[in-house]
Amino acid sequence: MPIKIRESPKIKTDFSITVLRKRLLAIYIAITFLFCFVLGRLFYVQVIWGEDLQEKAIDQWTREIPVVAARGEITDINGVVLAANDDTYTVFVRKKAVKDLNALCTALAETLSLNYEYVYKRLTETVSSEITVKKQVRKDAVNALLKYGFDGVYYSRDNSRVYPYNEFLTQVLGFTSTDGKGQSGLELYYDKYLKGIDGEILYETDIVGVEIDGGKVSYIPATGGLNLKLTIDYEIQQLAEAATAEAMTVHKAKSAQMLILDPQSGAIRALAIKPSYNLNEISRSDISLLYALSRNSLLSDVYEPGSTFKILTAAADIEEYLNGNPKAFSPTHIFNSSRYRYIDGQKVKCWSNHANGKHASLNLQGGLNNSCNPIFVDIAMSLGKDTMYKYIDLFNYGRTTGVDFSGEAQGMILPISAVQNVDLARIAFGQTIAVSGLQLAAATAAAINGGKYYTPYFAEEIYSGGIIAEKIKPKMKHRVISEKASAILSEMLEGVVRDGSGKKAYIEGYRVAGKTGTAQKYENGVIAAGKYVASFVGYFPANAPKYLALVIIDEPQGEYYGSTVAAPYAKQVFEGIINLKNLPPVE
């Protein structure tokens, strides 16, 4: 049908209604296509991409206030609390909800003992919508603040760690950061159990953090951390703390250290290191000093053990002898009385001058009693480096003990391929080798407990509200020597305390056994004049050892022999234990 055109005065032939119709159809198609495209795009955004977008959006719809989980307690084996929490709170302010800023600042400054200008500045100049005014605020201050009834002030429990005994078991317990994370010691090692799971208060807000009326508030409660029960015995630890403190004053030593463990299980009963510090007054401003004082040197540092290492050489000889190794010496064998041994042209000598019949005609027992170096050189040379290294390996030197603590040292041992005869000769009496105190204590325990190597450990159990989450059992790694060899060795070490260099640790009727050690210190590869490490490793009762103590006095002034400097403190602590536990004499 032709279009009726009334407006146009002239009708040209090139105007065609068909063109207009076609054009309109094209427009129909185009707009339909565009609408379909838009719907397709919306389908993609809403349906396919939607979940992802919503997840991102939820983030911005809610604000959260953390609810800090209560950190687990640390107790000794009898439940004496060694690390606990004070109920403290973080005070938050949500700026947008504050009505009277000046009044609030005044009240905050007063109750939290802060400077008004500081509070005002914090509240006005901080960009975020939740402002932390102060952490670890005590309950009474919070109560005082609550009385004002301010809008926009929030409290969230944050806990402060407290150590009831201040300077006590310091390097073992370690400390936490101000926001309650374990930073050193067992606080760090067992952090994942102690810390618990923080909760949150989530509330729906608008863009600037103003809570929406009728918005959902969800409370995700915090799960408190698990408690940690240690193998440490508070009372024995007290003895060790006192003994090391005394050793520091008496001998003006650089450091005094004591480790007590149960040789039948590896459970550590006490570990004291001086100098130390009060765990409740951590000097966070001097990080390097804090780091030095926090170092658990009995585990993390190595030293040249000296004569206490002869226990290993003696153990190797006895075991090999019992096994019929012809290169081993019989306990009754009388060694050459000379002060010197010449190894590959080098002279190795005894610490004693052997004058006036000293160290003459000694058997192995006599060698241990007098700590005579040449006898142990003879044993090592005779057994050879393969056998000696076999025992070094069996006694777990050169490897960490596996104690539940971070930063354990491996020790330093010459590789077997590099060791010369003269090195081996010195290793026999504890030189040219470096071990950690814990390695020595654990190895000695294995040598005298019947021959079983136990991994030392601190944690007795992990528990919560009467439910034991994990009970730690003693871990026997392997046998080091036979029961018989162990018994013979233990008898000999008992002799050392009864008749030999360990006399100062002797307690009538309690069968104390042990071995002294005195080592010269090296500085930059040369012997440092006048610097010694006096040590004693002892235990009782010799027939069924229950307590093993390692005492290390680093750089004592004046006297420096293990026998006179270190052994008396072992005795002091053993007597203390006997009193505490009311132990009857064994004989």
């Binding site: 279009i3 009726k4 054009r23 427009i27 389908f43």
Partner: protein, 369 residues
């Protein structure tokens, strides 16, 4: 064959659809704005009240236009053109022009503000219709459409100076649609489109903010708090809607997260609340209005009515599509209202009046095309 009398009666369905859309729009304006309006103006119904007044005036304008013989509109071509250019110029006069977000797009009229570009769009349609009805045979050649291009180009120039890129683009697209509908040869079309596209690129390059918006569009997560913010918030809203939406009035994005939630980005809130399924129905209503407008054009008994109805239907359709593409992150964000839905008085009054014009065309339509 439908009864003659009903055709004489005009396309009431179009009018109902338009009013329905405006009412739906008001509901969503309430949903999108009540929180921020209460916070900003102390009145949760601030935008709703303005919109209701706009709709009331719009309905009056629509009824008047529906009853007024559209052919007589030709007489007003020059007057409307002069008025719209004066209004466009007034935007730049200090004290009269109202500046918002760095652009002068409004002129103040007491309590109300007027957006001259809205009038200018209608003026362009009216001018084209009048011109092509007078010189329909010239429409095929480039020289014949020059007056329309000149008119449209001048409007574009004013609007781009405000600056308002998106309305400029819409006006340019409208102009192209109109001369295409009038029958310009395809070769001549290309002669116009290519330089226009080039001009568009230049316009983006000379305005640094457009360039940064373009970059933000390509990767909004690079500046989630800056240029990418608006787009991300819009996507978050749509994405949260999913298939079925979070429910009417349950938008979370309206809590000040999504700027312009009641105006240019109202589609985001609608999508969040009613979901994709809801949007399908919503777009069906929008498409219905476009198709009814094109139907009136098809049935118009003269070229004037044909161009007028096509232009009105298409400016509505173009704005819907461009707005939806912006909101869904398909093209860089620009400020453009969703016709009949977004908060904004000038826009709603003009669109409703235009719907009245289309109704009048449909009323007189004889089904010629």
């Amino acid at each position: 064959m439908k009864p003659f009398i009903r055709r004489q009666g005009g396309d009431y369905a179009l009018l109902i659809a338009v009013v329905l859309l405006a009412v739906i729009g008001t509901v969503f304006i309430y949903s999108a704005s009540n929180y921020s309006a209460a916070a900003t103006y102390g009145d949760a119904l601030y935008f709703v009240k303005k919109q209701v007044i706009g709709i009331a005036l719009g309905v009056v304008a629509m009824i008047c236009a529906a009853l007024y013989d559209y052919k007589k509109l030709k007489k007003f071509t020059v007057v409307v053109a002069i008025l719209s250019f004066v209004a466009l110029a007034l935007v730049f006069v200090p004290g009269i022009g109202v500046e918002n977000y760095g652009a002068k797009r409004w002129i103040g009229l007491g309590a109300f503000t007027l957006q001259p570009s809205e009038i200018a769009k209608f003026s362009l349609i009216l001018f084209s219709a009048t011109y092509f009805s007078a010189y329909k045979e010239r429409a095929a050649n480039f020289s014949g459409v020059l007056p329309v291009l000149l008119f449209g180009g001048t409007v574009c120039l004013f609007v781009i100076l405000e600056p308002n890129m998106s309305i400029t683009v819409c006006i340019a697209l409208l102009m192209m649609t109109v001369i295409f509908a009038a029958g310009l040869k395809i070769k001549a079309m290309l002669l116009i489109i290519l330089p226009a596209a080039f001009a568009g690129v230049v316009l983006i390059l000379i305005e640094p903010y457009r360039l940064s918006r373009l970059a933000a569009f390509l990767n909004p997560w690079e500046s989630p708090k800056g240029e990418g913010y608006q787009l991300l918030q819009s996507l978050y809203a749509l994405g949260s809607g999913g298939w079925f939406g979070v429910g009417l009035f349950n938008s979370r994005q309206k809590y000040a997260f999504l700027p312009f939630a009641e105006s240019d980005f109202i589609l985001s809130v609608i999508g969040e609340e009613i979901g994709f399924i809801g949007l399908v129905f919503f777009f069906a209503l929008l498409a219905f209005i476009v198709f009814r407008g094109l139907r009136a054009a098809r049935r118009a008994k003269d070229v004037f009515g044909f161009i007028l109805a096509t232009g009105i239907a298409m400016i509505f359709g173009i704005q819907v599509v461009v707005n939806a593409l912006v909101v869904s992150g398909s093209i860089p964000p620009t400020g453009l209202p969703l016709p009949l839905v977004s908060s904004g008085n000038t826009s709603i009054i003009i669109f409703m009046a235009e719907a009245g014009v289309v109704f009048n065309i449909s009323r007189k339509g004889t089904g010629t095309f």
